[in-house]
Protein backbone atom coordinates (compact mmCIF):
# COMPACT_ATOMS: atom_id res chain seq x y z
CA UNK A 1 0.00 0.00 0.00
CA UNK A 2 2.81 2.35 0.92
CA UNK A 3 4.52 1.58 -2.39
CA UNK A 4 1.31 2.29 -4.30
CA UNK A 5 0.92 5.65 -2.56
CA UNK A 6 4.54 6.52 -3.25
CA UNK A 7 3.99 5.70 -6.90
CA UNK A 8 0.88 7.85 -6.98
CA UNK A 9 2.68 10.88 -5.58
CA UNK A 10 5.60 10.28 -7.93
CA UNK A 11 3.25 10.23 -10.91
CA UNK A 12 1.54 13.35 -9.64
CA UNK A 13 4.85 15.16 -9.26
CA UNK A 14 5.92 14.14 -12.77
CA UNK A 15 2.59 15.26 -14.20
CA UNK A 16 2.79 18.60 -12.42
CA UNK A 17 6.32 19.13 -13.60
CA UNK A 18 5.38 18.44 -17.20
CA UNK A 19 2.41 20.75 -16.93
CA UNK A 20 4.51 23.63 -15.74
CA UNK A 21 7.72 23.29 -17.69
CA UNK A 22 6.88 25.14 -20.87
CA UNK A 23 10.52 25.94 -21.45
CA UNK A 24 13.75 24.05 -20.83
CA UNK A 25 16.46 26.52 -19.92
CA UNK A 26 20.06 26.39 -21.07
CA UNK A 27 22.89 26.92 -18.63
CA UNK A 28 23.01 30.51 -17.51
CA UNK A 29 25.54 32.89 -18.99
CA UNK A 30 26.97 35.91 -17.24
CA UNK A 31 25.93 39.31 -18.57
CA UNK A 32 28.24 41.13 -16.17
CA UNK A 33 31.41 40.09 -14.39
CA UNK A 34 31.62 38.55 -10.96
CA UNK A 35 29.98 40.49 -8.15
CA UNK A 36 32.26 43.31 -7.06
CA UNK A 37 32.32 45.07 -3.74
CA UNK A 38 29.95 48.07 -3.65
CA UNK A 39 28.69 47.54 -7.24
CA UNK A 40 24.93 47.07 -7.59
CA UNK A 41 22.90 46.32 -10.70
CA UNK A 42 19.30 47.38 -11.13
CA UNK A 43 16.53 46.34 -13.50
CA UNK A 44 13.81 48.76 -12.45
CA UNK A 45 12.57 50.51 -15.58
CA UNK A 46 8.86 50.92 -16.35
CA UNK A 47 7.38 47.58 -17.34
CA UNK A 48 10.75 45.89 -16.71
CA UNK A 49 11.77 46.06 -20.40
CA UNK A 50 15.48 45.32 -20.06
CA UNK A 51 16.03 42.59 -22.66
CA UNK A 52 15.26 42.45 -26.38
CA UNK A 53 16.01 40.05 -29.21
CA UNK A 54 16.66 40.40 -32.93
CA UNK A 55 17.30 37.48 -35.29
CA UNK A 56 21.02 37.92 -34.72
CA UNK A 57 21.44 39.14 -31.15
CA UNK A 58 20.06 39.47 -27.67
CA UNK A 59 20.70 42.73 -25.82
CA UNK A 60 20.42 43.51 -22.11
CA UNK A 61 20.29 47.01 -20.64
CA UNK A 62 20.61 47.95 -16.97
CA UNK A 63 21.82 50.55 -14.47
CA UNK A 64 24.78 50.06 -12.19
CA UNK A 65 27.25 52.16 -10.21
CA UNK A 66 30.46 50.52 -11.43
CA UNK A 67 31.74 53.95 -12.47
CA UNK A 68 30.94 55.34 -9.00
CA UNK A 69 27.70 56.99 -10.17
CA UNK A 70 24.57 55.26 -11.50
CA UNK A 71 24.84 54.92 -15.28
CA UNK A 72 23.16 52.89 -18.02
CA UNK A 73 24.94 50.01 -19.75
CA UNK A 74 24.10 47.60 -22.55
CA UNK A 75 25.68 44.28 -23.52
CA UNK A 76 25.09 42.09 -26.58
CA UNK A 77 25.19 38.39 -27.19
CA UNK A 78 25.39 37.25 -30.80
CA UNK A 79 23.17 34.26 -31.41
CA UNK A 80 23.98 31.42 -31.02
CA UNK A 81 27.02 32.49 -29.01
CA UNK A 82 26.84 31.93 -25.26
CA UNK A 83 28.76 34.97 -24.06
CA UNK A 84 27.98 38.66 -23.80
CA UNK A 85 30.19 41.44 -25.02
CA UNK A 86 31.76 43.85 -22.58
CA UNK A 87 29.25 46.42 -21.41
CA UNK A 88 28.89 49.64 -23.38
CA UNK A 89 28.04 52.76 -21.38
CA UNK A 90 24.86 54.29 -22.79
CA UNK A 91 24.41 57.35 -20.56
CA UNK A 92 26.93 60.14 -20.22
CA UNK A 93 25.57 62.51 -17.59
CA UNK A 94 25.83 62.82 -13.85
CA UNK A 95 23.37 60.06 -13.02
CA UNK A 96 21.11 57.83 -15.10
CA UNK A 97 18.37 55.38 -14.19
CA UNK A 98 15.61 53.03 -15.31
CA UNK A 99 16.40 52.12 -18.92
CA UNK A 100 14.15 50.42 -21.45
CA UNK A 101 14.93 48.51 -24.67
CA UNK A 102 13.20 47.10 -27.73
CA UNK A 103 14.42 45.40 -30.91
CA UNK A 104 14.58 47.04 -34.35
CA UNK A 105 15.35 45.71 -37.82
CA UNK A 106 18.90 45.13 -39.09
CA UNK A 107 20.15 43.91 -35.72
CA UNK A 108 19.56 47.28 -34.04
CA UNK A 109 18.04 48.13 -30.69
CA UNK A 110 16.12 51.15 -29.40
CA UNK A 111 17.19 52.35 -25.94
CA UNK A 112 15.55 54.83 -23.58
CA UNK A 113 16.71 56.06 -20.19
CA UNK A 114 16.49 58.83 -17.62
CA UNK A 115 19.52 61.02 -17.22
CA UNK A 116 19.82 64.04 -14.93
CA UNK A 117 16.05 64.56 -14.76
CA UNK A 118 15.56 64.33 -18.55
CA UNK A 119 14.69 61.35 -20.70
CA UNK A 120 16.68 60.26 -23.76
CA UNK A 121 16.51 57.71 -26.55
CA UNK A 122 19.39 56.18 -28.44
CA UNK A 123 20.00 53.48 -31.07
CA UNK A 124 22.44 50.61 -30.69
CA UNK A 125 23.61 49.05 -33.94
CA UNK A 126 26.49 46.84 -35.00
CA UNK A 127 28.41 50.08 -35.51
CA UNK A 128 27.88 51.07 -31.90
CA UNK A 129 25.72 53.68 -30.22
CA UNK A 130 24.10 56.47 -32.21
CA UNK A 131 23.84 59.98 -30.85
CA UNK A 132 21.28 60.39 -28.02
CA UNK A 133 18.09 62.37 -28.53
CA UNK A 134 16.43 64.19 -25.65
CA UNK A 135 12.66 63.69 -25.49
CA UNK A 136 11.63 65.84 -22.53
CA UNK A 137 11.39 69.60 -22.13
CA UNK A 138 10.91 69.73 -18.35
CA UNK A 139 11.83 67.46 -15.43
CA UNK A 140 11.04 63.93 -16.60
CA UNK A 141 11.49 60.29 -15.70
CA UNK A 142 10.02 56.78 -16.07
CA UNK A 143 10.59 56.38 -19.81
CA UNK A 144 9.52 53.30 -21.78
CA UNK A 145 10.17 52.43 -25.44
CA UNK A 146 8.43 50.09 -27.88
CA UNK A 147 8.40 49.39 -31.61
CA UNK A 148 6.46 47.65 -34.33
CA UNK A 149 7.99 47.25 -37.81
CA UNK A 150 10.47 49.99 -36.96
CA UNK A 151 7.75 52.42 -35.93
CA UNK A 152 9.14 53.49 -32.56
CA UNK A 153 7.26 55.11 -29.69
CA UNK A 154 8.28 56.22 -26.21
CA UNK A 155 6.26 57.21 -23.15
CA UNK A 156 7.39 59.06 -20.05
CA UNK A 157 6.15 61.33 -17.27
CA UNK A 158 6.98 65.01 -17.29
CA UNK A 159 6.25 67.73 -14.77
CA UNK A 160 5.41 71.17 -16.10
CA UNK A 161 4.16 74.15 -14.06
CA UNK A 162 3.33 71.88 -11.15
CA UNK A 163 1.25 69.43 -13.18
CA UNK A 164 2.08 65.88 -14.22
CA UNK A 165 1.84 64.84 -17.85
CA UNK A 166 2.04 61.45 -19.51
CA UNK A 167 3.83 62.10 -22.80
CA UNK A 168 4.03 59.85 -25.86
CA UNK A 169 6.43 60.47 -28.74
CA UNK A 170 6.60 58.98 -32.23
CA UNK A 171 10.22 58.55 -33.28
CA UNK A 172 11.79 58.27 -36.73
CA UNK A 173 15.10 56.55 -37.34
CA UNK A 174 17.61 58.63 -39.31
CA UNK A 175 20.18 57.04 -41.58
CA UNK A 176 22.83 58.03 -39.06
CA UNK A 177 21.13 55.78 -36.48
CA UNK A 178 19.78 58.73 -34.55
CA UNK A 179 16.18 59.17 -33.43
CA UNK A 180 14.23 62.19 -34.63
CA UNK A 181 11.12 63.17 -32.67
CA UNK A 182 8.27 63.26 -35.19
CA UNK A 183 5.48 64.18 -32.81
CA UNK A 184 4.67 64.35 -29.10
CA UNK A 185 1.28 64.35 -27.42
CA UNK A 186 0.01 64.22 -23.86
CA UNK A 187 -2.36 61.38 -23.12
CA UNK A 188 -4.42 63.88 -21.13
CA UNK A 189 -3.88 67.41 -22.35
CA UNK A 190 -4.51 69.14 -19.04
CA UNK A 191 -2.16 67.05 -16.97
CA UNK A 192 -2.76 66.11 -13.35
CA UNK A 193 -2.25 67.63 -9.93
CA UNK A 194 -1.37 64.20 -8.54
CA UNK A 195 1.63 62.19 -9.67
CA UNK A 196 1.49 59.42 -12.21
CA UNK A 197 4.08 56.69 -11.92
CA UNK A 198 5.87 54.19 -14.14
CA UNK A 199 3.92 54.50 -17.40
CA UNK A 200 4.66 51.78 -19.93
CA UNK A 201 3.85 51.61 -23.63
CA UNK A 202 3.17 48.79 -26.09
CA UNK A 203 2.35 48.85 -29.80
CA UNK A 204 1.09 46.45 -32.45
CA UNK A 205 -0.82 46.57 -35.73
CA UNK A 206 -3.95 47.86 -34.00
CA UNK A 207 -2.29 50.83 -32.35
CA UNK A 208 -0.76 52.05 -29.12
CA UNK A 209 -1.52 51.24 -25.50
CA UNK A 210 -0.18 53.02 -22.40
CA UNK A 211 -0.80 51.99 -18.80
CA UNK A 212 0.31 53.73 -15.62
CA UNK A 213 -0.15 54.16 -11.85
CA UNK A 214 -2.56 57.02 -11.19
CA UNK A 215 -3.26 58.71 -7.85
CA UNK A 216 -6.07 61.11 -8.73
CA UNK A 217 -8.71 58.97 -6.96
CA UNK A 218 -7.03 59.37 -3.57
CA UNK A 219 -5.41 55.97 -3.86
CA UNK A 220 -3.52 54.25 -6.65
CA UNK A 221 -5.37 52.86 -9.64
CA UNK A 222 -3.93 51.47 -12.83
CA UNK A 223 -5.25 53.30 -15.84
CA UNK A 224 -4.90 52.42 -19.49
CA UNK A 225 -5.42 54.40 -22.68
CA UNK A 226 -5.39 53.50 -26.35
CA UNK A 227 -4.78 55.31 -29.61
CA UNK A 228 -5.12 53.85 -33.09
CA UNK A 229 -2.10 55.90 -34.15
CA UNK A 230 -0.27 59.05 -33.19
CA UNK A 231 -2.35 61.19 -35.53
CA UNK A 232 -5.27 60.67 -33.16
CA UNK A 233 -5.61 61.57 -29.45
CA UNK A 234 -5.54 58.87 -26.83
CA UNK A 235 -8.86 57.61 -25.51
CA UNK A 236 -10.13 58.73 -22.12
CA UNK A 237 -8.31 56.60 -19.50
CA UNK A 238 -10.02 53.40 -18.39
CA UNK A 239 -9.42 51.40 -15.23
CA UNK A 240 -7.24 48.35 -15.69
CA UNK A 241 -7.54 46.87 -12.21
CA UNK A 242 -11.18 46.18 -11.56
CA UNK A 243 -11.19 45.43 -7.85
CA UNK A 244 -11.23 48.13 -5.19
CA UNK A 245 -11.53 47.14 -1.58
CA UNK A 246 -14.21 48.91 0.44
CA UNK A 247 -13.83 47.64 3.97
CA UNK A 248 -14.54 50.79 5.95
CA UNK A 249 -14.94 54.55 5.76
CA UNK A 250 -11.21 54.99 5.24
CA UNK A 251 -10.86 52.45 2.46
CA UNK A 252 -10.65 53.82 -1.05
CA UNK A 253 -8.92 50.82 -2.54
CA UNK A 254 -6.13 48.32 -2.22
CA UNK A 255 -2.63 48.93 -3.52
CA UNK A 256 -1.74 48.28 -7.13
CA UNK A 257 1.61 49.05 -8.65
CA UNK A 258 4.24 48.47 -11.36
CA UNK A 259 2.22 47.51 -14.41
CA UNK A 260 3.96 45.83 -17.36
CA UNK A 261 2.65 45.57 -20.93
CA UNK A 262 3.57 43.29 -23.81
CA UNK A 263 2.09 42.92 -27.26
CA UNK A 264 1.29 39.43 -28.52
CA UNK A 265 -0.44 37.94 -31.54
CA UNK A 266 -1.66 40.35 -34.18
CA UNK A 267 -3.28 42.97 -32.03
CA UNK A 268 -3.43 41.82 -28.41
CA UNK A 269 -1.85 43.22 -25.25
CA UNK A 270 -0.90 41.45 -22.03
CA UNK A 271 -0.90 43.56 -18.86
CA UNK A 272 0.41 42.31 -15.51
CA UNK A 273 0.88 44.09 -12.20
CA UNK A 274 1.26 43.79 -8.42
CA UNK A 275 -2.12 43.91 -6.65
CA UNK A 276 -2.88 43.94 -2.92
CA UNK A 277 -6.49 42.81 -3.23
CA UNK A 278 -5.60 39.73 -1.13
CA UNK A 279 -5.23 41.92 1.97
CA UNK A 280 -2.61 40.79 4.47
CA UNK A 281 -0.85 38.44 2.08
CA UNK A 282 0.89 41.29 0.29
CA UNK A 283 0.99 41.77 -3.44
CA UNK A 284 -0.33 39.13 -5.79
CA UNK A 285 0.40 39.04 -9.51
CA UNK A 286 -2.67 39.83 -11.56
CA UNK A 287 -3.12 40.20 -15.31
CA UNK A 288 -5.57 41.13 -18.05
CA UNK A 289 -5.60 40.41 -21.76
CA UNK A 290 -6.55 43.25 -24.08
CA UNK A 291 -7.83 43.14 -27.63
CA UNK A 292 -7.36 45.80 -30.31
CA UNK A 293 -4.08 47.08 -28.86
CA UNK A 294 -5.58 47.53 -25.43
CA UNK A 295 -8.76 49.33 -26.48
CA UNK A 296 -10.72 46.61 -24.69
CA UNK A 297 -9.35 44.58 -21.80
CA UNK A 298 -10.86 41.38 -20.48
CA UNK A 299 -11.39 40.57 -16.80
CA UNK A 300 -8.59 40.59 -14.25
CA UNK A 301 -6.97 37.18 -13.75
CA UNK A 302 -4.86 35.90 -10.87
CA UNK A 303 -1.59 34.64 -12.29
CA UNK A 304 0.27 32.86 -9.51
CA UNK A 305 -0.92 29.46 -8.41
CA UNK A 306 -2.35 28.26 -5.12
CA UNK A 307 1.11 27.61 -3.76
CA UNK A 308 1.73 31.33 -3.89
CA UNK A 309 -1.66 32.42 -2.61
CA UNK A 310 -0.40 33.32 0.84
CA UNK A 311 2.88 34.83 -0.30
CA UNK A 312 3.77 38.31 -1.52
CA UNK A 313 5.08 38.58 -5.08
CA UNK A 314 7.13 41.28 -6.72
CA UNK A 315 8.50 42.73 -9.94
CA UNK A 316 6.26 41.30 -12.69
CA UNK A 317 7.60 41.35 -16.24
CA UNK A 318 5.71 40.48 -19.42
CA UNK A 319 6.65 39.22 -22.86
CA UNK A 320 4.78 38.23 -26.01
CA UNK A 321 5.44 37.48 -29.66
CA UNK A 322 3.54 37.75 -32.90
CA UNK A 323 2.97 34.00 -32.92
CA UNK A 324 0.58 34.58 -30.02
CA UNK A 325 2.71 33.31 -27.13
CA UNK A 326 2.80 35.30 -23.89
CA UNK A 327 4.35 34.84 -20.47
CA UNK A 328 4.77 36.57 -17.12
CA UNK A 329 7.78 36.35 -14.80
CA UNK A 330 8.14 37.68 -11.26
CA UNK A 331 10.06 37.02 -8.07
CA UNK A 332 9.02 35.97 -4.59
CA UNK A 333 10.55 34.45 -1.48
CA UNK A 334 8.21 31.54 -0.83
CA UNK A 335 11.35 29.40 -0.43
CA UNK A 336 12.93 31.92 1.99
CA UNK A 337 15.39 33.33 -0.57
CA UNK A 338 14.01 35.09 -3.62
CA UNK A 339 13.59 33.03 -6.81
CA UNK A 340 12.31 33.76 -10.31
CA UNK A 341 8.89 32.34 -11.19
CA UNK A 342 7.15 32.02 -14.54
CA UNK A 343 3.58 31.40 -15.66
CA UNK A 344 1.88 31.20 -19.02
CA UNK A 345 -1.42 29.89 -20.28
CA UNK A 346 -1.90 26.13 -20.16
CA UNK A 347 -3.69 24.27 -22.89
CA UNK A 348 -6.93 24.81 -20.95
CA UNK A 349 -6.48 28.61 -21.20
CA UNK A 350 -5.75 29.00 -17.51
CA UNK A 351 -2.56 30.35 -15.97
CA UNK A 352 -0.21 27.43 -15.50
CA UNK A 353 1.34 26.30 -12.28
CA UNK A 354 4.14 28.57 -11.12
CA UNK A 355 7.43 27.37 -12.51
CA UNK A 356 10.84 28.30 -11.06
CA UNK A 357 13.56 27.75 -13.68
CA UNK A 358 16.40 25.97 -11.92
CA UNK A 359 18.95 28.35 -13.45
CA UNK A 360 17.27 31.28 -11.66
CA UNK A 361 16.40 29.74 -8.32
CA UNK A 362 18.07 28.09 -5.36
CA UNK A 363 20.44 29.55 -2.83
CA UNK A 364 20.99 33.28 -2.87
CA UNK A 365 18.65 35.98 -4.12
CA UNK A 366 17.45 35.73 -7.72
CA UNK A 367 15.17 38.63 -8.49
CA UNK A 368 13.99 41.39 -10.82
CA UNK A 369 13.37 39.33 -13.97
CA UNK A 370 13.08 40.81 -17.42
CA UNK A 371 11.91 38.64 -20.31
CA UNK A 372 11.56 38.58 -24.09
CA UNK A 373 9.92 36.02 -26.39
CA UNK A 374 11.21 35.55 -29.92
CA UNK A 375 9.03 34.40 -32.79
CA UNK A 376 10.16 30.79 -32.33
CA UNK A 377 8.80 30.86 -28.80
CA UNK A 378 12.19 30.93 -27.10
CA UNK A 379 12.06 32.71 -23.75
CA UNK A 380 15.00 34.99 -23.02
CA UNK A 381 15.39 35.56 -19.29
CA UNK A 382 17.54 38.20 -17.58
CA UNK A 383 17.78 38.59 -13.81
CA UNK A 384 19.81 39.90 -10.87
CA UNK A 385 21.63 37.60 -8.48
CA UNK A 386 22.95 38.48 -5.02
CA UNK A 387 24.22 36.18 -2.31
CA UNK A 388 22.15 38.21 0.17
CA UNK A 389 19.69 41.05 -0.20
CA UNK A 390 22.24 43.78 0.38
CA UNK A 391 25.20 42.05 -1.27
CA UNK A 392 26.92 43.15 -4.47
CA UNK A 393 25.14 41.83 -7.54
CA UNK A 394 25.61 40.50 -11.04
CA UNK A 395 23.34 39.87 -14.02
CA UNK A 396 22.62 36.49 -15.57
CA UNK A 397 20.89 35.39 -18.74
CA UNK A 398 19.39 32.10 -19.84
CA UNK A 399 17.59 30.93 -22.97
CA UNK A 400 14.46 28.88 -22.42
CA UNK A 401 13.65 26.59 -25.32
CA UNK A 402 9.98 25.64 -25.76
CA UNK A 403 9.20 22.06 -24.82
CA UNK A 404 7.78 19.94 -27.55
CA UNK A 405 4.46 18.38 -26.55
Amino acid sequence: MKLRLTGFWLLLIIFQSQASDHWVFDSRSAVTGAATDRVYHHLDGPGRKHIAVTEQSVAAVWEDNSSQTPQIYVALQSLPSDSFTAALQVSNGGEAYEPSIDALSNNRFALAFEQDASVFVRILSTEGLGEPTRLSQQAASHVSITSFSDQVFASWRERDSGRWFLKVAALRIEASNRFIVESVQSVEADGLETPLLFPVIAVNAAGLCVAWEDRRAGHTRLLVSHSADMSKPFNAPQSLNEFYSDRNEYDKGNGVTRVSLASFGEDEILAAWMDKRRGGNGYGIFAALGADAGENFGPNEKVHGEEGDRQPHYNPATAGNQAGDFVIAWDDFRRADSDIWISTYSSDLEWSQDHAPSVASGSGEQSHPSIALDDQGNLHLLWIERSQQDSPSRLWYSLGRPQKP
Binding site: R38, Y40, H42, D44, N65, P70, E95, Y97, E114, A117, A139, A140, S141, H142, R157, R159, W164, P195, L197, F198, E213, R215, A217, G218, H219, T220, S245, R247, N248, Y250, D251, K252, G253, G255, T257, R258, G280, N281, G282, R310, Q311, P312, Y314, N315, F333, Q389, D390
Partner: protein, 168 residues
Protein backbone atom coordinates in the same frame (compact mmCIF):
# COMPACT_ATOMS: atom_id res chain seq x y z
CA UNK B 1 5.74 35.84 7.61
CA UNK B 2 7.18 39.15 8.72
CA UNK B 3 10.78 38.82 7.69
CA UNK B 4 13.15 41.16 9.39
CA UNK B 5 15.89 41.77 6.89
CA UNK B 6 15.83 45.39 7.93
CA UNK B 7 16.97 44.29 11.33
CA UNK B 8 20.11 42.95 9.73
CA UNK B 9 20.93 46.45 8.56
CA UNK B 10 22.31 48.93 11.06
CA UNK B 11 20.68 52.30 10.76
CA UNK B 12 23.89 53.78 9.44
CA UNK B 13 23.54 51.49 6.42
CA UNK B 14 20.09 52.64 5.50
CA UNK B 15 19.94 56.03 3.88
CA UNK B 16 22.22 58.94 3.34
CA UNK B 17 20.68 60.71 0.42
CA UNK B 18 17.41 60.75 -1.44
CA UNK B 19 16.94 61.92 -5.00
CA UNK B 20 13.72 62.76 -6.70
CA UNK B 21 12.52 64.18 -9.96
CA UNK B 22 9.07 64.54 -8.53
CA UNK B 23 7.52 65.82 -5.38
CA UNK B 24 6.97 64.10 -2.09
CA UNK B 25 4.67 61.22 -2.93
CA UNK B 26 4.09 60.19 0.63
CA UNK B 27 1.13 60.82 2.86
CA UNK B 28 2.22 60.86 6.51
CA UNK B 29 -0.21 62.14 9.16
CA UNK B 30 -0.67 65.88 9.50
CA UNK B 31 0.72 67.63 12.54
CA UNK B 32 3.81 65.45 12.74
CA UNK B 33 7.31 66.28 11.64
CA UNK B 34 7.81 63.29 9.37
CA UNK B 35 10.95 63.67 7.32
CA UNK B 36 12.37 61.82 4.38
CA UNK B 37 14.39 58.81 5.47
CA UNK B 38 17.49 60.69 4.39
CA UNK B 39 16.86 63.67 6.62
CA UNK B 40 15.61 61.57 9.51
CA UNK B 41 18.61 59.27 9.49
CA UNK B 42 21.02 62.17 9.54
CA UNK B 43 19.09 63.97 12.27
CA UNK B 44 18.71 60.91 14.47
CA UNK B 45 22.40 60.18 14.23
CA UNK B 46 23.51 63.73 14.93
CA UNK B 47 21.15 64.24 17.87
CA UNK B 48 21.27 60.69 19.27
CA UNK B 49 17.50 60.50 19.23
CA UNK B 50 15.35 57.41 18.74
CA UNK B 51 13.73 57.13 15.34
CA UNK B 52 10.32 55.90 14.24
CA UNK B 53 10.31 54.65 10.66
CA UNK B 54 6.80 54.51 9.20
CA UNK B 55 6.20 52.46 6.02
CA UNK B 56 2.93 53.66 4.49
CA UNK B 57 1.19 53.57 1.15
CA UNK B 58 -0.71 56.20 -0.76
CA UNK B 59 -4.40 55.44 -0.11
CA UNK B 60 -3.73 52.80 2.58
CA UNK B 61 -6.96 52.45 4.56
CA UNK B 62 -5.41 51.32 7.84
CA UNK B 63 -2.95 54.19 7.60
CA UNK B 64 -5.85 56.61 7.15
CA UNK B 65 -7.64 55.06 10.10
CA UNK B 66 -4.58 55.49 12.29
CA UNK B 67 -4.16 59.07 11.13
CA UNK B 68 -7.75 59.84 12.11
CA UNK B 69 -8.03 57.81 15.29
CA UNK B 70 -4.51 57.42 16.69
CA UNK B 71 -2.16 60.08 15.39
CA UNK B 72 -4.78 62.69 16.33
CA UNK B 73 -4.07 62.04 20.01
CA UNK B 74 -2.39 65.04 21.61
CA UNK B 75 -0.24 63.06 24.05
CA UNK B 76 1.06 60.78 21.32
CA UNK B 77 1.72 63.78 19.12
CA UNK B 78 3.73 65.43 21.88
CA UNK B 79 5.69 62.25 22.60
CA UNK B 80 6.55 61.41 19.02
CA UNK B 81 7.20 64.94 17.81
CA UNK B 82 9.17 65.83 20.91
CA UNK B 83 11.32 62.82 21.58
CA UNK B 84 11.56 60.92 18.29
CA UNK B 85 12.88 61.62 14.85
CA UNK B 86 10.16 60.57 12.43
CA UNK B 87 10.75 59.08 8.98
CA UNK B 88 8.21 58.11 6.32
CA UNK B 89 8.67 55.73 3.38
CA UNK B 90 6.01 55.32 0.67
CA UNK B 91 6.12 51.63 -0.21
CA UNK B 92 5.02 52.25 -3.82
CA UNK B 93 7.13 55.32 -4.48
CA UNK B 94 9.73 55.63 -7.21
CA UNK B 95 11.69 58.17 -5.15
CA UNK B 96 15.27 57.07 -4.82
CA UNK B 97 17.23 56.64 -1.65
CA UNK B 98 20.91 56.00 -1.38
CA UNK B 99 22.34 53.49 1.03
CA UNK B 100 25.56 54.05 2.88
CA UNK B 101 27.13 51.17 0.97
CA UNK B 102 26.69 53.17 -2.24
CA UNK B 103 23.56 51.52 -3.61
CA UNK B 104 20.63 53.66 -4.71
CA UNK B 105 17.20 52.14 -4.86
CA UNK B 106 13.63 53.36 -4.91
CA UNK B 107 11.56 53.54 -1.75
CA UNK B 108 9.48 50.71 -3.16
CA UNK B 109 12.49 48.47 -3.69
CA UNK B 110 13.76 49.36 -0.23
CA UNK B 111 10.39 48.37 1.21
CA UNK B 112 10.19 45.04 -0.58
CA UNK B 113 13.80 44.27 0.30
CA UNK B 114 12.92 45.03 3.93
CA UNK B 115 10.10 42.48 3.58
CA UNK B 116 7.43 45.06 4.33
CA UNK B 117 4.31 43.13 3.36
CA UNK B 118 1.54 45.35 4.68
CA UNK B 119 1.03 48.96 5.66
CA UNK B 120 1.27 50.59 8.04
CA UNK B 121 4.44 49.03 9.39
CA UNK B 122 6.43 50.80 12.08
CA UNK B 123 10.05 50.16 12.99
CA UNK B 124 11.37 51.71 16.16
CA UNK B 125 15.07 52.50 16.54
CA UNK B 126 16.97 53.19 19.74
CA UNK B 127 18.93 56.43 20.24
CA UNK B 128 21.96 54.34 19.36
CA UNK B 129 20.32 53.81 15.95
CA UNK B 130 19.71 50.11 16.51
CA UNK B 131 16.43 48.72 15.13
CA UNK B 132 14.52 47.37 18.14
CA UNK B 133 11.19 46.00 16.92
CA UNK B 134 8.71 46.07 14.08
CA UNK B 135 4.92 46.42 14.38
CA UNK B 136 2.61 45.89 11.41
CA UNK B 137 -1.05 46.86 11.10
CA UNK B 138 -3.32 49.02 13.23
CA UNK B 139 -1.85 50.12 16.55
CA UNK B 140 -3.87 51.86 19.25
CA UNK B 141 -2.90 55.07 21.01
CA UNK B 142 -2.09 53.04 24.11
CA UNK B 143 0.15 50.68 22.15
CA UNK B 144 1.99 53.50 20.42
CA UNK B 145 2.52 55.20 23.77
CA UNK B 146 3.81 51.94 25.26
CA UNK B 147 6.29 51.52 22.42
CA UNK B 148 7.46 55.08 22.97
CA UNK B 149 7.83 54.64 26.72
CA UNK B 150 9.72 51.37 26.25
CA UNK B 151 12.36 53.25 24.32
CA UNK B 152 12.36 56.62 26.07
CA UNK B 153 12.58 55.02 29.51
CA UNK B 154 15.32 52.73 28.18
CA UNK B 155 13.57 49.50 29.12
CA UNK B 156 14.91 48.01 25.89
CA UNK B 157 18.26 47.83 27.63
CA UNK B 158 16.96 45.36 30.20
CA UNK B 159 13.97 43.45 28.81
CA UNK B 160 12.21 42.52 25.59
CA UNK B 161 9.17 44.53 24.55
CA UNK B 162 6.72 41.72 25.31
CA UNK B 163 7.92 41.54 28.89
CA UNK B 164 7.64 45.29 29.28
CA UNK B 165 4.07 45.23 27.97
CA UNK B 166 3.13 42.32 30.23
CA UNK B 167 4.27 44.29 33.25
CA UNK B 168 2.09 47.31 32.42
Amino acid sequence: MLHSSLFRLPLACIVLLSLSVGTLLAAPPEGYRFLSLTEATQLASSENKPMLLYFGRYGCSTCRKMHAEVFNDASLNAKLNGAFVLAYVDTESGNRISLANGERITEMQFSSRSRIIGTPTFIFFSPEQKPLFKKAGFQTVAQMNQYGDYILEKHYQSMPLNEFIARQ
